[in-house]
Symmetry: C2
Subunit: 166 residues, 2 copies
């Protein structure tokens, strides 16, 4: 796991140093297949015995985002959630409001529509952000009753210390 064949978990940016912390953040992000917050990622690393400072996590995520290697969304509270971008190009996700699991959705219709917007409006350099949320099949039964109660034991959101919001 050193040297060749990497490319995805190699370095944050060409020219950047490869440190224990950045490698750990990058690997955790690749291994974690869903969106995760900076703080949760930091906690995840700590639990795994690879302690990385929160500042470093934020810095690394910022650099990765700049390098175009992450997709970023915001949850209801405005918190940013990151995910490694599976392949090139712009992708959108449908995220379960209960368990937080995400799945990529085909968005060519929206992309094409967004591209055409500029022509009709006189706007240039049009960019778009699309966020889709719903309740996945696995969460639907429990969501019918207690509304958003299924989040309580989310398996993909280690140590979520949010409590008061809403």
């Amino acid at each position: 796991m050193s040297g060749a064949a990497a490319g995805r978990t190699d370095t944050v940016e060409p020219g950047a140093r490869r440190t224990r912390q950045r490698t750990a953040v990058l690997q955790a992000l690749v291994g974690f297949r869903d969106f995760i917050s900076a703080q949760a990622l930091c906690a995840l690393l700590t639990e795994a015995g690879v302690s990385v400072g929160l500042s470093t996590v934020y810095r690394t995520l910022r650099d990765l985002e700049r390098a175009g290697r992450l997709d970023v969304v915001r949850d209801e509270t405005g918190e940013r959630l990151y995910r490694e971008r599976p392949e090139d190009g712009h992708r959108h996700y449908l995220i379960c409001r209960c368990c937080g699991r995400s799945r990529a959705v085909d968005t060519e219709v929206v992309e094409a529509w967004a591209d055409r917007i500029g022509e009709h409006t006189g706007f240039t350099d049009v960019e778009h952000t699309l966020e889709l949320t719903g309740v996945c099949a696995g969460c639907a039964p429990s969501a019918q009753q207690g509304e958003t109660s299924c989040r309580q034991e989310s398996p993909r959101r280690p140590s979520d210390p949010r409590r008061s919001p809403r």
Copy 2:
């Protein structure tokens, strides 16, 4: 301007009291045709001689949002921007990154697409958030050179005290 014929600047919610502050917030929001932050709205009211506490502005905006009378977007920094919803139904906007001006765009294609997502994914109760940004025709010339320099003298953003972010 009292009693009949209102309906838009009347009360925040049915059953809520009509106070000087809530009326002022609601009227300012209706008069201001673009997205505006809570803090900017508060400043706007203060400038207009109708001082309203920041807490009350936030509370009123929260209630209006719950009542479905506002459209809300987030700017690059995560700050929430509010705008009175012109008519019933879900609408989306194309916002100029330079001057902040917005215009509603026709989104039936996206709406229809989003509605169909559930069927293919097994997700229920699918909701979507779409944010479009670009550079409007008026800002295009100045944006070519100094990038986002045209924001400096935005006429629709009174007293914008943001500085450090990014």
